[in-house]
């Protein structure tokens, strides 16, 4: 059943890619290829759910493909199936959405290319979680990377697309090479098959174990966007078409998480606690970095991209915690950590897909992507606004939406960890808890800022004033993840029940976590009953509304009061930059803001100011400290190498005896 579904999924994606290129009419190519992608996602969803329900696993091998590296080998287990599910739930709405979103590309070859690459991208992402040997994994991984890179640069008119593509390509290739090195090390000279690695990993000497973990963190961290390898993420996401951003943020980045889990929890034996601590610390740093930039960023999609960084950080907090607990032999807490990380992975996939799709609708409708240029869209794009509000509330992690449940579980996790482990470790966990709480708070700020500035109040520009609602198909596509946010928020046990199967398959027994509709954590004696909270909230709101309606006073609409100021205009509105200003001041050390004020004064006297220009920006210190030296070093090396090529034939000729001499010396030396 699941084999057939999976074969259908891959075939559909392949067919979609081909149809996009060959179908005679542009519109037909779009419809067919995206419908095919959507069908593929549905089939993948069926496959994933079948496997998760039945906890089955099956394998498929082909020696004919990629033969020199050991052939193609696929295996579905619950962990892989769960990530397949994530790809599917992100891919299906994204492909539906693109049906309406990319209509304007119908006449162009570029449109066909985007559809074809989209299908290839999906297929690559479907294969990654199923790969059971290094060859398959790396191949699918690179197909995914290449197709997503091409999608990022698919709209060269997008400002900064080329630079974003370059960052992305280089970072992802660096990750790939680190991954290759790690796998080669992990293979210990034997066959690069996952089962063999699983069997042999225990014999890996500690030193190379450390190197492997470092390389893996670099590899998967560069895909997932761990600090300081996140730099490509806020560049690439805005450049890509929105449905691709959704897919990248919702699914592709998560495959970095998948890889980490697959290798660190499945292939490798328990590691030293230091690694768990390091991953936890990385997670915290990532979450804080992401959320702080997300709060201050003016570009709509970059806000979301940084928020992805933040959520990846939270997921890695869970993973780091699980690693720690696994190192200490506390299987139940390790399992809980993993469940929390996986649940947040799913939740984030759902709400971030929704938000990126909504951002696409906004950019599509209002033709501007800067928060400073938006405003008042709630009246012009009412349905998108409602859907976006759902996503934003999930992002802010408030009940009863899905972002809240995983956040709540993360808190519980850290409390339980602090309670049930040895003091040396327990003292560190409160700091993590505080950081996660701060992240949650700042995420709420970011969410309010995103929705409040973009959708509420008055439009700040003409293009925002003339914004139009997204086509029905796009709204319908957004409805899917929005429903997902609500359902997963109300009934988290739906997902948690599947996850217990996933973690127990990884050899981590899980205590009872799911009972009906409420999440019960016997370990910390807490429970959460989101559906009841939702009912309470609903009842309270209805009562409050009724009370407000019963008042007999007249209701009229009038000019905004604004403390007596007349002629309310968009210029009086609070801007996105102003909204973030208090936080920028509080975290000056992090943002390192640069201010540049220029006065335009009347020639008569410097006291007659005609205009003031303020340019405020942040110093990109992470890039400056880490990447600028690297780039400079590469340039320097390149310059040095260029000195060989002076053009003088005498120098060139002199290399001949030179090489002869050096090699003779080496020959003498190694004799």
């Amino acid at each position: 059943m699941s084999e057939a579904a999976l074969a259908t999924a891959l075939t559909a994606c392949a067919a979609g890619a081909v149809l996009a290129m060959v179908w005679p009419s542009g519109a037909g190519a779009r419809r067919l290829s995206l419908a095919s992608a959507c069908a593929g996602c549905s089939a993948a969803l069926v496959a994933a759910i079948t496997v998760l329900q039945g906890s089955l696993s099956w394998t498929w091998r082909s020696e004919a493909l990629l033969q020199p590296l050991g052939g193609v080998s696929l295996r579905v287990d619950p962990l892989g199936a769960f990530f397949l599910l994530i790809v599917a739930v992100t891919g299906a709405p994204a492909s539906l959405y693109a049906l309406g979103y990319l209509r304007h590309l119908d006449g162009q070859v570029r449109g066909r290319a985007v559809h074809a690459l989209f299908n290839v991208f999906l297929a690559g992402m479907c294969v990654v979680p199923l790969a059971d040997n290094v060859a398959t994994f790396l191949f699918a991984w690179e197909v995914m990377a290449l197709s997503s890179y091409l999608l990022v640069v698919s709209d060269p008119e997008q400002e900064g697309a080329a630079a974003a593509g370059l960052w992305y390509a280089v970072m992802t290739h660096a990750g790939f090479l680190a991954l290759l090195a790690a796998f080669v090390l992990l293979g210990q000279g034997g066959p690069l098959e996952f089962p063999a690695m699983r069997a042999g990993a225990a014999t890996l000497p500690p030193a190379s174990q450390g190197v492997v973990v470092l390389l893996l963190l670099a590899a998967f961290g560069s895909k997932a966007g761990l600090v300081p390898l996140h730099v490509w993420l806020p560049r690439a996401h805005p450049a890509a078409p929105s449905h691709v951003s959704a897919l990248m943020s919702g699914a592709m980045v998560k495959l970095g998480v998948y890889g980490t889990i697959r290798v660190l929890f499945d292939l490798m034996p328990p590691l030293s606690p230091w690694w768990g601590g390091a991953v936890l610390a990385l997670g915290v740093a990532t979450a804080l970095t992401g959320v702080l930039y997300s709060v201050a960023e003016p570009h709509l999609k970059r806000v979301l991209a940084y928020s992805t960084v933040e959520n990846i950080g939270l997921i890695f907090v869970g993973l780091g915690f699980a690693l720690l607990m696994r190192a200490y032999g506390n299987g139940v807490l390790a399992a809980m950590g993993l469940v929390v990380a996986l649940l947040h992975t799913l939740n984030h996939a759902v709400f971030k897909t929704l938000l990126f799709l909504a951002a696409g609708a906004v950019i599509h409708g209002a033709r501007t992507s800067s928060l400073e240029g938006l405003g008042g869209l709630i009246k012009r794009m009412p349905h998108t606004a409602v859907l976006c509000l759902v996503g934003v509330l999930a992002l802010a992690a408030v009940p009863p939406l899905n972002g809240f449940t995983s956040e709540w579980l993360t808190f519980q996790l850290l409390v339980a960890g602090a309670r049930y482990t040895e003091p040396a470790l327990a003292i560190v966990l409160p700091l993590a808890l505080a950081a996660v709480a701060l992240v949650a708070g700042l995420a709420a700020v970011s969410a309010v800022r995103l929705f409040g500035i973009a959708f509420l109040a008055l439009p700040r520009t003409d293009s925002a004033r003339d914004a139009h609602e997204a086509p029905a198909i796009m709204r319908a596509a957004m409805l899917l993840p929005a429903a997902g946010c609500i359902v997963l928020g109300l009934i988290p046990t739906l997902a948690v029940a599947q996850l217990t199967a996933v973690v127990s398959d990884l050899g981590l027994p899980m205590g009872q976590l799911d009972t009906g509709f409420a999440l019960v954590l016997p370990l910390v004696g807490s429970q959460l009953w989101p559906i009841a909270i939702a009912a309470l909230l609903g009842a309270g709101a209805v009562v409050a509304a009724a009370v407000a309606q019963t008042s007999r006073g007249p209701v009229r609409t009038d000019t905004t009061w604004n403390c007596g100021r007349i002629a309310q205009s968009p210029r009086q509105e609070y801007t996105a930059a102003a909204f973030a200003e208090p936080l920028k001041r509080v975290f000056t050390g992090f943002y390192r803001p640069t201010h540049e004020v220029s006065l335009d004064v009347h020639p008569v006297s410097p006291y007659f100011v005609r205009g003031i220009t303020l340019r405020a920006d942040f110093a990109p210190w992470m890039e400056q400290t880490l990447y600028t030296p690297l780039i400079r070093a590469a340039r320097w090396v390149s310059g040095q190498a260029g000195r060989l090529q002076t053009g003088s034939i005498h120098l060139y000729l002199a290399f001949l005896p030179g090489a002869l001499l050096v090699l003779l010396l080496i020959a003498r030396w190694i004799r």
Binding site: G375, I378, L393, A396, V398, P399, F404, E407, W408, Q412, V415, A418, R419, P423, P430, L433, A434, A437, L438, A440, G441, A444, V445, R449, G452, I453, F455, L456, A457, V524, S526, Q527, I533, L536, L537, G538, A539, G540, A541, V543, A544, V547, S551, G553, P554, V555, R556, T557, D558, T560, W561, N562, C563, Q568, E573, Y574, F579, E581, P582, V586
Partner: protein
Amino acid sequence: MTPIVLAVTECLCLAIAAPAVVGYVRWLKARLQGRRGADFLQPYRDLRKTFAKGMIIADTTSWIFHLTPCVVVASTVAAAALVPVISASQPGDQLGDLFALMALLILGTIFLALGGLDPGTAFGGMGSSREMTVAALTEPTLAIAILSLALTAGSTSLGTITNTLLTTPANAIGPGHALALAAFLIAMLAETGRLPVDNPATHLELTMIHEAMILEYSGPYLALLEWAAALKLTLLLTLASNLFVPWGIATSLSAGALALGLAAVLAKLALLATLLAVLETRVAKLRLFRVPELLAVSFTLALLAATSSFFTR
């Protein structure tokens, strides 16, 4: 059945008592400042009057403006439902724990901020921005305070925390508990917009936080928001008293115990409200950009509390 009835009653009690707490604080402050002051029932009169008034809706607003008061009330009531007031055993624990309560309060704050942004006025935006900043910075303090409670009680569930403290009062002795209480109280000041973070009685728009957000509200909506703010203050004060000093709370459902519980909670509320009034008379409002310093102090206290609970474990 009885516990649910009791829970509803408790919630209603809080809801009804909330304006009185605010009125009491105002009265006491007036007395302390040498004014006569209105009596503690004045907020009820204000609410009645505002409810009866008509509403002017700013023409720049959207449905968010209408939704905000409802959600703020709903989230505050939901939070109140989680708080043990008279009885320690209560069904609110089924719904959620302290973290859920925190999240519910944040939900209210978010909608307040959205409501402030909706009319598009400068003051509204300013208030929203500041409110969200303060709320975000308060989160870690609250989380650590919750942690230090959870470490001694073994749970983040409110009922369990109260019960554990009642059964092992020794837990309350020591630096951890007091530090956590202090941290919690400071965080509470920030959460509820009291001095020195925000001045609830200010008339200067530039220094407002909470009031700036609700500038455009009038009539029943304003009444709902004012009442929700009062409820938030009351529920946090109740929370502080019943989590940190639970003695007197009813552990059985007998009438006597419940009466004693009611008396105890009223006394504790009065005490805390008095403290609040005294504090608000003594301190001046902090500049907005010094608020993080205050919160840092509170964070440090909470962290010390958490660590000290490791040592006493």
